[in-house]
Symmetry: D3
Subunit: 159 residues, 6 copies
């Protein structure tokens, strides 16, 4: 790991890092997020459960579409042809809340952590939007990368 901010050059200029000479390899990244809410809100989500129109299904789709928007949102991210995006949401079993896991893949010259983080964040924001009429005090927390594979820096695992 380096000790320099890769996106700012010696003169203080923002740069989209030059990846022209990097190899195309399979890249995988997994990111997580959690939405904390009142017991009542968690119950409202649970009650829709596996029925049509559930909060979690809508947030899942928003997360998948959000992954595709990453280079539009994050200024120095490269545009990437994502080959797989999955977003899973489930009610947490230890707190009142929703746990989100996003997995992105590509075959390319740079990693997909930002795509996975963006997918998880947009899914979390959508849960917030769907529930804010009943609960304005929700919090989105613990957005982080838990796994990253591929590329020169090798595999990173956290949790």
């Amino acid at each position: 790991m380096t000790d320099k901010l890769s996106h700012i050059d010696a003169g203080g200029n923002a740069v989209m890092v030059d990846i022209s000479d990097k190899a195309d390899t399979t890249r995988i990244a997994i990111a997580k997020a959690r939405v904390l809410m009142s017991a009542q809100t968690a119950k409202l989500i649970a009650d829709r459960g596996h029925k049509k129109g559930d909060v979690l299904g809508i947030a899942q789709l928003a997360g998948i579409m959000g992954a595709k928007k990453t280079p539009d949102l994050i200024p120095l991210c490269h545009p990437l042809p994502l080959t797989s995006v999955t977003v899973d949401l489930e009610l947490a079993d230890d707190v009142d809340g929703v746990d989100i896991t996003a997995t992105c893949k590509t075959t390319g010259k740079t990693g997909v952590e930002m795509e996975a983080l963006t997918a998880a964040s947009v899914a979390a924001l959508t849960v917030f939007d769907m529930c804010k009429a009943v609960d304005k005090a929700m919090q989105i927390t613990d957005i982080r990368v838990t796994r990253k594979e591929g590329g020169k820096s090798g595999t990173f695992i956290a949790d």
Copy 2:
């Protein structure tokens, strides 16, 4: 406050809530987020400080632009003519991290909480992107609404 999810109708269909008959009033929302990082990463950010090309300045701009993308990202959000967006980022004084505050305004028929939350989230994701070459274990936390003014439901204040 209601006890129903406003974005799903009785038949389980997702709906963009009909706001046609709501009054145009001034709406303000403030949202916050925090990015936790290693002491070394926080120091790298601090060292660029008030110079050109700092991480916080780039994230700030990304947050402002992100607010304008809210209806593209959040499926059931209404498109809104934002009249003001400010995003402030500063190094936290109690932990190694960055604190983000986003404030959005509009004169319209619905609130701007989602715009403020999206601005704060995109700014946080951009801090992550700028620093991920030196610190893969960062966490984005405490994304929440701290103030909401305007509209029928009145003023909401949290912290």
Copy 3:
């Protein structure tokens, strides 16, 4: 009704019609579409029925988001602050297929037919995408405006 193409001027130039002096009134438009498919495909959709993750729920959300993209897609459409979008999908009772109804509203200077037609079209395309692995011979038909209210030209009703 006029007998001239409003979007092309006397010199053959494309124009976004000047609506600056038109009054802000409530505008409503309803558009419909139908996706024809094999009996087997219709049965696969019906089997998921009111469960989570059904084809119709995903297409519904895509249609709502599609309505917001109208001015990006249709060159001479004005950008509009939509105040309501609903998209309904149901299995047709007279053929093997899905019937789609999209309703858009705004308070503005021009109508929302194109938004309703775009919502219905994007929902239909999404049904196609979800089912194309099992049925490549589907057809999208009967995309049309069935109701338009508001503005100088008054109410239009068809079916």
Copy 4:
């Protein structure tokens, strides 16, 4: 051909299908659409004929640009580097209407049917928009895939 909906997994979750391990091959898809209109409207289009500013030329350009928007519109579509898009529009010779043919190509891991269908649909919607001041009763019909080449499932031909 499979008998399962490829975009929904066993648990009812929407997924962007994982194409990471598929080969890059040349993919071609052709889609068609038809816009039905009054004889008077068809005549107005014909009268502009091969002059500058014709309805068909504007719709053609909108269709080409629409193809590039496909992954933004269709939730579970992969982003793809299109290598060719052509859209042809001509007055139908058997009815009062416009016939549209869109052809898309890529070298990639998945097909371009949705891109061709989206191009044809957006071109058709643009014809509608250009003519709706003179004819509100138009219909867009017969949107379908007529040819698909490349990939594991081989060549599909219809029409």
Copy 5:
């Protein structure tokens, strides 16, 4: 006219200026641009003249669509409901080149200079794209605001 940069606050932060308390008035802006090219290139454009598929017609449409993208492109621009966009292109009579004039209108709280400048710039870039296979040495020049009406600062006229 002020002597301060309105988009940067005292602390060096970028801000989207707060226009919440400004009145809604009619705003008009006109911007111009010129594309300089070889005599041969200008002749190729002239030869297509008023026929279908001319370079100028395609650039005109791109300019109109570009105006709608302004808040996506210019970080601190407010989103605005444009009520009119026209873009005119003609061969210059004093040099080998194309002259572009873009006019934008809105009823809103801030001006539309950036929309007119963006329309003119995107139209000019599109002329460049259409002709670059025959002429790589083209230049886009003289992009400027020639007229601005509405708002507190009154009418500005240049040329």
Copy 6:
């Protein structure tokens, strides 16, 4: 170099040129632009110099993000996975103004001149936006390609 407009076919139809059979090679393009302004405006920019929140830093970021929008803006441009974008801005030493240089790279089937030109143009428009409150008479000039490498047509150098 050809003497035909590559984006219009024999029948006057706009086409996105078919690049399916072209080889993937490394492509580089450099474009320049200049913003002319009053001495007072140039001094305001210089005074912020290397501090946080400078005009040039914000325009730089806008230019980088603008490059990624090229296929959305220029109708017949192919979508491309850019592997590098840099945008440099500095005060001109021979006039009151800002000089902009944008460099884009990709490994692909077509060149990146339009991406470099778009980056330079959007950066220039952003300088204009940031300074227009103090100087409405600015001009953007000299937008041109100064270098192009890669592809069948070989290296082009201008200045």
